[in-house]
Amino acid sequence: MTAYLLHYYGYMLRAVASHAEMIALVMVFAIPISAALGVLIHVFRFPAVPVITILEILYTIPSLAFFAILVPISGLGVKSAVIVLVCYSLFFLVRNFLAGLEGIDPLVIEAARAMGYSRAGMFLKIELPMAMPALIAGTRLACMASIGIACIAYAIGAGGIGTILFEGMRQMSYVKIAWGAILVIALSVAVNNLMLALERYFTRRADPGRTE
Protein backbone atom coordinates (compact mmCIF):
# COMPACT_ATOMS: atom_id res chain seq x y z
CA MET A 1 0.00 0.00 0.00
CA THR A 2 2.58 2.54 1.10
CA ALA A 3 4.93 1.53 -1.67
CA TYR A 4 2.23 2.36 -4.22
CA LEU A 5 1.56 5.67 -2.49
CA LEU A 6 5.24 6.64 -2.44
CA HIS A 7 5.67 5.70 -6.06
CA TYR A 8 2.49 7.09 -7.52
CA TYR A 9 1.46 9.97 -5.25
CA GLY A 10 1.77 12.45 -8.11
CA TYR A 11 -0.45 10.32 -10.31
CA MET A 12 -2.99 9.91 -7.48
CA LEU A 13 -3.02 13.59 -6.74
CA ARG A 14 -3.68 14.37 -10.40
CA ALA A 15 -6.54 11.87 -10.44
CA VAL A 16 -8.11 13.54 -7.39
CA ALA A 17 -7.53 16.99 -8.87
CA SER A 18 -9.16 16.11 -12.17
CA HIS A 19 -12.07 14.52 -10.27
CA ALA A 20 -12.54 17.63 -8.15
CA GLU A 21 -12.22 19.83 -11.22
CA MET A 22 -14.98 17.88 -12.94
CA ILE A 23 -17.29 18.33 -9.93
CA ALA A 24 -16.47 22.04 -9.75
CA LEU A 25 -17.26 22.41 -13.45
CA VAL A 26 -20.57 20.60 -12.92
CA MET A 27 -21.52 23.01 -10.15
CA VAL A 28 -20.48 26.04 -12.20
CA PHE A 29 -23.17 25.06 -14.69
CA ALA A 30 -25.73 23.38 -12.43
CA ILE A 31 -26.06 26.13 -9.78
CA PRO A 32 -26.89 29.03 -12.14
CA ILE A 33 -29.19 26.84 -14.24
CA SER A 34 -31.06 25.62 -11.16
CA ALA A 35 -31.26 29.15 -9.75
CA ALA A 36 -32.73 30.31 -13.05
CA LEU A 37 -35.23 27.45 -13.07
CA GLY A 38 -36.11 28.15 -9.44
CA VAL A 39 -36.73 31.82 -10.17
CA LEU A 40 -38.72 30.96 -13.30
CA ILE A 41 -41.00 28.67 -11.30
CA HIS A 42 -41.21 30.56 -8.02
CA VAL A 43 -41.19 34.17 -9.18
CA PHE A 44 -42.59 33.93 -12.68
CA ARG A 45 -45.06 31.18 -11.79
CA PHE A 46 -43.87 28.87 -14.55
CA PRO A 47 -45.53 25.49 -13.85
CA ALA A 48 -43.24 23.38 -11.67
CA VAL A 49 -44.67 19.98 -12.55
CA PRO A 50 -43.25 19.62 -16.08
CA VAL A 51 -39.81 20.87 -15.01
CA ILE A 52 -39.63 18.56 -12.00
CA THR A 53 -40.96 15.64 -14.05
CA ILE A 54 -38.30 16.09 -16.71
CA LEU A 55 -35.57 16.30 -14.05
CA GLU A 56 -36.95 13.20 -12.37
CA ILE A 57 -36.94 11.27 -15.63
CA LEU A 58 -33.36 12.35 -16.35
CA TYR A 59 -32.40 11.31 -12.84
CA THR A 60 -33.76 7.79 -13.33
CA ILE A 61 -31.61 7.11 -16.42
CA PRO A 62 -28.79 4.80 -15.25
CA SER A 63 -25.50 6.67 -15.47
CA LEU A 64 -23.74 4.21 -17.74
CA ALA A 65 -26.64 4.31 -20.20
CA PHE A 66 -26.73 8.10 -20.01
CA PHE A 67 -23.01 8.29 -20.79
CA ALA A 68 -23.49 5.90 -23.71
CA ILE A 69 -26.36 7.97 -25.12
CA LEU A 70 -24.25 11.12 -25.02
CA VAL A 71 -21.05 9.76 -26.58
CA PRO A 72 -22.35 9.98 -30.17
CA ILE A 73 -23.58 13.52 -29.47
CA SER A 74 -20.90 15.17 -27.37
CA GLY A 75 -18.10 12.65 -27.79
CA LEU A 76 -15.82 10.89 -25.35
CA GLY A 77 -14.33 12.83 -22.49
CA VAL A 78 -15.11 15.33 -19.77
CA LYS A 79 -17.78 17.17 -21.78
CA SER A 80 -20.20 14.25 -21.86
CA ALA A 81 -19.49 13.43 -18.22
CA VAL A 82 -20.23 17.01 -17.14
CA ILE A 83 -23.50 17.11 -19.09
CA VAL A 84 -24.72 13.94 -17.37
CA LEU A 85 -23.68 15.11 -13.93
CA VAL A 86 -25.29 18.52 -14.46
CA CYS A 87 -28.57 16.80 -15.33
CA TYR A 88 -28.43 14.70 -12.17
CA SER A 89 -27.44 17.68 -10.03
CA LEU A 90 -30.32 19.81 -11.27
CA PHE A 91 -32.71 17.32 -9.74
CA PHE A 92 -31.33 17.91 -6.23
CA LEU A 93 -30.74 21.61 -6.67
CA VAL A 94 -34.09 22.64 -8.13
CA ARG A 95 -36.08 20.48 -5.74
CA ASN A 96 -34.27 21.78 -2.67
CA PHE A 97 -34.30 25.39 -3.79
CA LEU A 98 -38.06 25.29 -4.37
CA ALA A 99 -38.62 23.50 -1.08
CA GLY A 100 -36.61 26.23 0.67
CA LEU A 101 -38.59 29.01 -0.98
CA GLU A 102 -41.92 27.35 -0.32
CA GLY A 103 -40.98 26.56 3.27
CA ILE A 104 -40.82 30.21 4.31
CA ASP A 105 -43.45 31.16 6.89
CA PRO A 106 -46.40 32.42 4.79
CA LEU A 107 -47.04 35.17 7.34
CA VAL A 108 -43.55 36.54 6.77
CA ILE A 109 -44.28 36.58 3.04
CA GLU A 110 -47.58 38.29 3.71
CA ALA A 111 -45.89 40.94 5.85
CA ALA A 112 -43.39 41.60 3.06
CA ARG A 113 -46.11 41.79 0.41
CA ALA A 114 -48.12 44.22 2.53
CA MET A 115 -45.11 46.53 2.70
CA GLY A 116 -45.14 47.16 -1.01
CA TYR A 117 -41.96 45.33 -1.97
CA SER A 118 -41.54 44.89 -5.70
CA ARG A 119 -41.47 41.22 -6.68
CA ALA A 120 -37.72 41.39 -7.34
CA GLY A 121 -37.05 43.29 -4.10
CA MET A 122 -38.96 40.75 -2.10
CA PHE A 123 -37.13 37.85 -3.72
CA LEU A 124 -33.67 39.31 -3.16
CA LYS A 125 -34.17 40.83 0.28
CA ILE A 126 -36.51 38.35 1.95
CA GLU A 127 -36.93 35.06 0.13
CA LEU A 128 -33.42 34.34 -1.12
CA PRO A 129 -31.62 34.85 2.22
CA MET A 130 -34.21 32.67 3.91
CA ALA A 131 -33.98 29.91 1.27
CA MET A 132 -30.16 29.89 1.05
CA PRO A 133 -29.64 27.05 3.56
CA ALA A 134 -31.91 24.77 1.51
CA LEU A 135 -30.12 25.72 -1.71
CA ILE A 136 -26.76 24.89 -0.13
CA ALA A 137 -28.13 21.61 1.21
CA GLY A 138 -29.18 20.75 -2.34
CA THR A 139 -25.70 21.63 -3.59
CA ARG A 140 -24.17 19.33 -1.01
CA LEU A 141 -26.37 16.41 -2.09
CA ALA A 142 -25.60 17.13 -5.74
CA CYS A 143 -21.85 17.16 -5.01
CA MET A 144 -22.04 13.86 -3.15
CA ALA A 145 -23.97 12.16 -5.94
CA SER A 146 -21.67 13.64 -8.59
CA ILE A 147 -18.47 12.52 -6.86
CA GLY A 148 -19.72 8.93 -6.84
CA ILE A 149 -21.09 8.87 -10.36
CA ALA A 150 -18.02 10.65 -11.76
CA CYS A 151 -15.99 7.51 -10.97
CA ILE A 152 -17.91 5.71 -13.72
CA ALA A 153 -17.17 8.53 -16.14
CA TYR A 154 -13.74 7.00 -16.62
CA ALA A 155 -15.55 4.60 -18.96
CA ILE A 156 -16.01 7.46 -21.42
CA GLY A 157 -12.52 8.79 -20.92
CA ALA A 158 -13.27 11.59 -18.47
CA GLY A 159 -10.36 10.73 -16.17
CA GLY A 160 -10.65 11.28 -12.43
CA ILE A 161 -10.32 8.79 -9.60
CA GLY A 162 -12.18 6.28 -11.78
CA THR A 163 -8.90 5.84 -13.66
CA ILE A 164 -7.26 4.23 -10.64
CA LEU A 165 -10.33 2.14 -9.80
CA PHE A 166 -10.79 0.81 -13.32
CA GLU A 167 -7.08 0.08 -13.75
CA GLY A 168 -7.16 -1.77 -10.44
CA MET A 169 -10.07 -3.87 -11.62
CA ARG A 170 -8.47 -4.66 -14.94
CA GLN A 171 -5.18 -5.65 -13.31
CA MET A 172 -6.89 -7.32 -10.33
CA SER A 173 -4.77 -5.05 -8.14
CA TYR A 174 -6.38 -4.76 -4.72
CA VAL A 175 -3.89 -2.09 -3.77
CA LYS A 176 -5.05 0.16 -6.58
CA ILE A 177 -8.73 -0.54 -5.89
CA ALA A 178 -8.22 0.17 -2.20
CA TRP A 179 -6.41 3.43 -2.92
CA GLY A 180 -9.06 4.45 -5.43
CA ALA A 181 -11.77 3.82 -2.87
CA ILE A 182 -9.88 5.70 -0.16
CA LEU A 183 -9.40 8.70 -2.45
CA VAL A 184 -13.10 8.84 -3.39
CA ILE A 185 -14.14 8.59 0.23
CA ALA A 186 -11.60 11.22 1.28
CA LEU A 187 -12.80 13.60 -1.42
CA SER A 188 -16.44 13.00 -0.45
CA VAL A 189 -15.77 13.61 3.22
CA ALA A 190 -13.79 16.76 2.49
CA VAL A 191 -16.43 18.22 0.18
CA ASN A 192 -19.22 17.18 2.53
CA ASN A 193 -17.59 18.98 5.43
CA LEU A 194 -16.92 22.05 3.37
CA MET A 195 -20.55 22.20 2.27
CA LEU A 196 -21.79 21.54 5.80
CA ALA A 197 -19.76 24.50 7.00
CA LEU A 198 -21.30 26.65 4.26
CA GLU A 199 -24.73 25.37 5.18
CA ARG A 200 -24.19 26.28 8.82
CA TYR A 201 -23.00 29.72 7.80
CA PHE A 202 -26.09 30.41 5.69
CA THR A 203 -28.42 28.86 8.26
CA ARG A 204 -27.01 31.28 10.80
CA ARG A 205 -27.41 34.17 8.40
CA ALA A 206 -31.03 33.18 7.75
CA ASP A 207 -31.79 33.49 11.47
CA PRO A 208 -28.82 34.85 13.39
CA GLY A 209 -30.78 35.14 16.62
CA ARG A 210 -31.38 31.42 16.95
CA THR A 211 -28.88 29.69 19.18
CA GLU A 212 -28.65 26.00 18.44
Partner: protein, 254 residues
Protein backbone atom coordinates in the same frame (compact mmCIF):
# COMPACT_ATOMS: atom_id res chain seq x y z
CA UNK B 1 -62.97 62.70 3.21
CA UNK B 2 -63.12 58.96 3.72
CA UNK B 3 -59.75 57.27 3.97
CA UNK B 4 -61.32 53.86 3.44
CA UNK B 5 -64.72 52.97 2.12
CA UNK B 6 -66.18 49.50 1.71
CA UNK B 7 -69.06 49.46 -0.76
CA UNK B 8 -71.15 46.30 -0.56
CA UNK B 9 -68.03 44.18 -0.27
CA UNK B 10 -68.26 40.40 -0.42
CA UNK B 11 -65.55 37.80 -0.13
CA UNK B 12 -66.09 34.09 -0.46
CA UNK B 13 -63.57 31.30 -0.24
CA UNK B 14 -65.09 28.60 -2.42
CA UNK B 15 -68.52 27.89 -0.97
CA UNK B 16 -67.98 29.67 2.36
CA UNK B 17 -68.66 33.37 2.58
CA UNK B 18 -66.25 35.20 4.89
CA UNK B 19 -67.69 38.68 4.25
CA UNK B 20 -71.26 39.00 3.00
CA UNK B 21 -71.91 42.46 1.71
CA UNK B 22 -70.42 45.03 4.07
CA UNK B 23 -70.58 48.77 3.54
CA UNK B 24 -68.75 51.09 5.88
CA UNK B 25 -66.64 54.22 5.70
CA UNK B 26 -63.60 55.12 7.77
CA UNK B 27 -63.15 58.84 7.89
CA UNK B 28 -59.69 60.29 7.40
CA UNK B 29 -57.93 60.76 10.72
CA UNK B 30 -60.32 58.55 12.67
CA UNK B 31 -59.62 55.43 14.67
CA UNK B 32 -62.14 52.69 14.02
CA UNK B 33 -62.20 49.49 16.06
CA UNK B 34 -63.39 46.44 14.19
CA UNK B 35 -64.60 43.74 16.51
CA UNK B 36 -66.41 40.44 16.33
CA UNK B 37 -66.11 36.76 17.11
CA UNK B 38 -63.39 34.52 15.74
CA UNK B 39 -64.09 33.79 12.09
CA UNK B 40 -66.47 36.73 11.66
CA UNK B 41 -64.35 38.18 8.83
CA UNK B 42 -62.25 40.87 10.54
CA UNK B 43 -58.89 39.88 9.10
CA UNK B 44 -60.48 39.44 5.69
CA UNK B 45 -61.84 43.00 5.88
CA UNK B 46 -58.38 44.40 6.70
CA UNK B 47 -56.66 42.48 3.93
CA UNK B 48 -59.11 43.76 1.36
CA UNK B 49 -57.84 47.27 2.06
CA UNK B 50 -54.25 46.52 1.02
CA UNK B 51 -55.36 43.94 -1.55
CA UNK B 52 -53.75 40.96 0.12
CA UNK B 53 -57.28 39.68 -0.40
CA UNK B 54 -59.25 40.65 -3.49
CA UNK B 55 -63.00 41.08 -2.91
CA UNK B 56 -65.29 38.68 -4.76
CA UNK B 57 -67.62 41.59 -5.43
CA UNK B 58 -68.09 45.18 -4.33
CA UNK B 59 -65.51 47.91 -4.09
CA UNK B 60 -62.93 49.12 -1.62
CA UNK B 61 -62.05 52.78 -2.01
CA UNK B 62 -58.86 54.36 -0.70
CA UNK B 63 -59.14 58.15 -0.40
CA UNK B 64 -61.90 58.00 -2.97
CA UNK B 65 -60.03 55.90 -5.54
CA UNK B 66 -60.98 52.35 -6.39
CA UNK B 67 -58.21 50.10 -5.05
CA UNK B 68 -58.91 47.60 -7.84
CA UNK B 69 -57.50 50.00 -10.40
CA UNK B 70 -54.53 51.25 -8.33
CA UNK B 71 -50.94 50.13 -8.62
CA UNK B 72 -50.83 47.62 -5.81
CA UNK B 73 -47.29 48.35 -4.58
CA UNK B 74 -47.98 52.09 -4.58
CA UNK B 75 -51.15 51.46 -2.57
CA UNK B 76 -49.33 49.24 -0.07
CA UNK B 77 -46.57 51.79 0.48
CA UNK B 78 -49.21 54.15 1.88
CA UNK B 79 -50.61 51.58 4.29
CA UNK B 80 -48.96 50.17 7.40
CA UNK B 81 -50.04 46.65 8.29
CA UNK B 82 -49.60 44.94 11.63
CA UNK B 83 -50.30 41.23 11.36
CA UNK B 84 -52.07 39.10 13.91
CA UNK B 85 -48.69 37.36 14.38
CA UNK B 86 -45.58 39.54 14.48
CA UNK B 87 -44.11 37.81 11.38
CA UNK B 88 -40.77 39.61 11.62
CA UNK B 89 -37.98 38.88 9.15
CA UNK B 90 -35.73 36.46 11.05
CA UNK B 91 -32.60 37.28 9.05
CA UNK B 92 -32.73 40.98 9.89
CA UNK B 93 -32.05 42.77 13.17
CA UNK B 94 -34.79 44.69 14.94
CA UNK B 95 -33.44 47.89 13.37
CA UNK B 96 -33.31 46.16 9.98
CA UNK B 97 -36.91 45.06 10.29
CA UNK B 98 -38.11 48.54 11.17
CA UNK B 99 -36.00 50.04 8.36
CA UNK B 100 -37.51 47.92 5.59
CA UNK B 101 -40.27 50.33 4.62
CA UNK B 102 -38.13 53.49 4.88
CA UNK B 103 -35.64 51.71 2.62
CA UNK B 104 -38.35 50.78 0.12
CA UNK B 105 -39.45 54.41 0.23
CA UNK B 106 -35.88 55.55 -0.37
CA UNK B 107 -35.31 57.55 2.81
CA UNK B 108 -31.74 58.56 3.60
CA UNK B 109 -29.81 56.65 6.28
CA UNK B 110 -29.87 59.35 8.94
CA UNK B 111 -33.61 59.83 8.72
CA UNK B 112 -34.21 56.08 8.83
CA UNK B 113 -31.93 55.66 11.84
CA UNK B 114 -33.58 58.38 13.86
CA UNK B 115 -37.02 57.01 12.97
CA UNK B 116 -35.97 53.55 14.21
CA UNK B 117 -34.80 54.95 17.57
CA UNK B 118 -37.91 57.08 17.90
CA UNK B 119 -40.22 54.12 17.29
CA UNK B 120 -38.32 51.74 19.56
CA UNK B 121 -38.49 54.24 22.40
CA UNK B 122 -42.15 54.76 21.70
CA UNK B 123 -42.71 51.02 21.98
CA UNK B 124 -40.89 50.95 25.30
CA UNK B 125 -37.88 49.12 23.88
CA UNK B 126 -34.51 50.73 24.65
CA UNK B 127 -32.84 51.26 21.23
CA UNK B 128 -29.36 50.61 22.66
CA UNK B 129 -30.49 47.27 23.95
CA UNK B 130 -32.82 46.10 21.21
CA UNK B 131 -31.84 47.64 17.85
CA UNK B 132 -29.11 45.09 17.12
CA UNK B 133 -31.00 42.02 18.34
CA UNK B 134 -32.59 39.46 16.07
CA UNK B 135 -36.29 38.55 16.28
CA UNK B 136 -35.66 35.12 17.79
CA UNK B 137 -33.87 36.86 20.66
CA UNK B 138 -37.09 38.64 21.67
CA UNK B 139 -40.12 37.58 23.68
CA UNK B 140 -43.43 37.26 21.83
CA UNK B 141 -44.67 40.59 23.15
CA UNK B 142 -41.44 42.35 22.21
CA UNK B 143 -41.69 40.88 18.72
CA UNK B 144 -45.23 42.15 18.43
CA UNK B 145 -44.10 45.66 19.42
CA UNK B 146 -41.36 45.57 16.79
CA UNK B 147 -44.02 44.50 14.28
CA UNK B 148 -46.04 47.59 15.19
CA UNK B 149 -42.97 49.82 14.89
CA UNK B 150 -42.19 48.27 11.51
CA UNK B 151 -45.68 49.04 10.23
CA UNK B 152 -45.52 52.65 11.45
CA UNK B 153 -41.99 53.33 10.21
CA UNK B 154 -42.92 54.78 6.84
CA UNK B 155 -45.36 57.29 8.35
CA UNK B 156 -48.29 55.68 6.49
CA UNK B 157 -51.52 57.56 5.94
CA UNK B 158 -53.45 54.52 7.04
CA UNK B 159 -52.57 51.90 9.61
CA UNK B 160 -54.25 48.49 9.61
CA UNK B 161 -53.77 46.66 12.88
CA UNK B 162 -54.88 43.07 13.37
CA UNK B 163 -55.16 42.31 17.08
CA UNK B 164 -51.80 43.95 17.70
CA UNK B 165 -51.99 43.79 21.49
CA UNK B 166 -53.41 40.30 21.77
CA UNK B 167 -50.17 38.75 23.02
CA UNK B 168 -49.32 41.40 25.62
CA UNK B 169 -49.75 41.53 29.38
CA UNK B 170 -52.41 43.92 30.68
CA UNK B 171 -49.97 46.60 31.81
CA UNK B 172 -48.02 46.75 28.55
CA UNK B 173 -51.26 46.52 26.64
CA UNK B 174 -52.82 49.40 28.49
CA UNK B 175 -49.66 51.49 28.05
CA UNK B 176 -49.59 50.80 24.34
CA UNK B 177 -53.27 51.63 24.04
CA UNK B 178 -52.50 55.04 25.58
CA UNK B 179 -49.52 55.44 23.27
CA UNK B 180 -51.59 54.52 20.25
CA UNK B 181 -54.22 57.10 21.18
CA UNK B 182 -51.48 59.67 21.68
CA UNK B 183 -49.79 58.92 18.34
CA UNK B 184 -53.17 58.93 16.66
CA UNK B 185 -53.98 62.31 18.21
CA UNK B 186 -50.60 63.73 17.23
CA UNK B 187 -50.19 62.40 13.67
CA UNK B 188 -53.80 62.01 12.69
CA UNK B 189 -53.06 58.65 11.09
CA UNK B 190 -56.23 56.84 10.08
CA UNK B 191 -56.34 53.56 11.98
CA UNK B 192 -58.47 50.49 11.43
CA UNK B 193 -57.93 48.36 14.49
CA UNK B 194 -59.13 44.77 14.83
CA UNK B 195 -59.72 43.34 18.28
CA UNK B 196 -61.63 40.60 20.06
CA UNK B 197 -61.81 42.60 23.19
CA UNK B 198 -64.87 44.80 23.62
CA UNK B 199 -63.21 46.95 26.30
CA UNK B 200 -60.29 47.60 24.01
CA UNK B 201 -62.62 48.36 21.10
CA UNK B 202 -64.60 50.86 23.17
CA UNK B 203 -61.53 52.44 24.69
CA UNK B 204 -59.73 53.01 21.39
CA UNK B 205 -62.38 53.36 18.77
CA UNK B 206 -63.97 56.70 17.99
CA UNK B 207 -66.33 54.40 16.20
CA UNK B 208 -66.76 50.70 16.67
CA UNK B 209 -67.75 48.26 13.95
CA UNK B 210 -69.23 44.99 15.16
CA UNK B 211 -68.98 42.08 12.73
CA UNK B 212 -71.03 38.94 13.13
CA UNK B 213 -70.79 36.04 10.70
CA UNK B 214 -69.51 38.16 7.83
CA UNK B 215 -72.04 40.97 8.17
CA UNK B 216 -71.86 44.29 9.96
CA UNK B 217 -74.12 44.02 12.98
CA UNK B 218 -73.62 47.64 13.98
CA UNK B 219 -71.34 50.55 13.24
CA UNK B 220 -71.36 53.58 15.47
CA UNK B 221 -69.74 55.47 18.31
CA UNK B 222 -69.43 53.62 21.62
CA UNK B 223 -72.18 55.87 22.94
CA UNK B 224 -74.56 55.06 20.09
CA UNK B 225 -73.92 51.35 20.51
CA UNK B 226 -74.48 51.44 24.26
CA UNK B 227 -77.67 53.53 23.89
CA UNK B 228 -79.09 51.63 20.95
CA UNK B 229 -77.71 48.16 20.41
CA UNK B 230 -78.76 47.07 16.93
CA UNK B 231 -79.56 43.44 17.65
CA UNK B 232 -79.36 40.60 20.14
CA UNK B 233 -75.76 39.84 19.24
CA UNK B 234 -74.64 43.36 20.10
CA UNK B 235 -76.75 43.33 23.27
CA UNK B 236 -75.16 40.08 24.29
CA UNK B 237 -71.72 41.52 23.60
CA UNK B 238 -72.45 44.55 25.78
CA UNK B 239 -72.94 42.24 28.77
CA UNK B 240 -69.19 41.74 28.67
CA UNK B 241 -68.34 45.43 28.68
CA UNK B 242 -66.67 46.45 31.92
CA UNK B 243 -68.46 48.96 34.15
CA UNK B 244 -65.78 51.60 33.65
CA UNK B 245 -65.88 51.21 29.87
CA UNK B 246 -69.68 51.43 29.96
CA UNK B 247 -69.58 54.65 32.00
CA UNK B 248 -66.99 56.11 29.69
CA UNK B 249 -69.09 55.19 26.66
CA UNK B 250 -72.26 56.69 28.14
CA UNK B 251 -70.79 60.11 28.63
CA UNK B 252 -68.51 59.80 25.64
CA UNK B 253 -68.31 62.81 23.40
CA UNK B 254 -65.12 61.98 21.48
Amino acid sequence: MNAIEFADVKKSYGASEAVRGVSMAVEEGSLVALMGASGSGKTTMLKMVNRLVVPTSGKVLFFGGDTASMDVTALRKKIGYVLQAAALFPHMTVAGNISTIPEILGWDKARTRSRVSELLSLMGLDPDEFAARYPSQLSGGQQQRVGIARAMAGEPRVLLMDEPFGALDVITRSRLQDDLLRIHGRDGTTILFVTHDIDEAFRLGGRVAVMNGGVMAQYGTPREIVKNPADDYVRQLLNFLSVEALKRAEKDTK
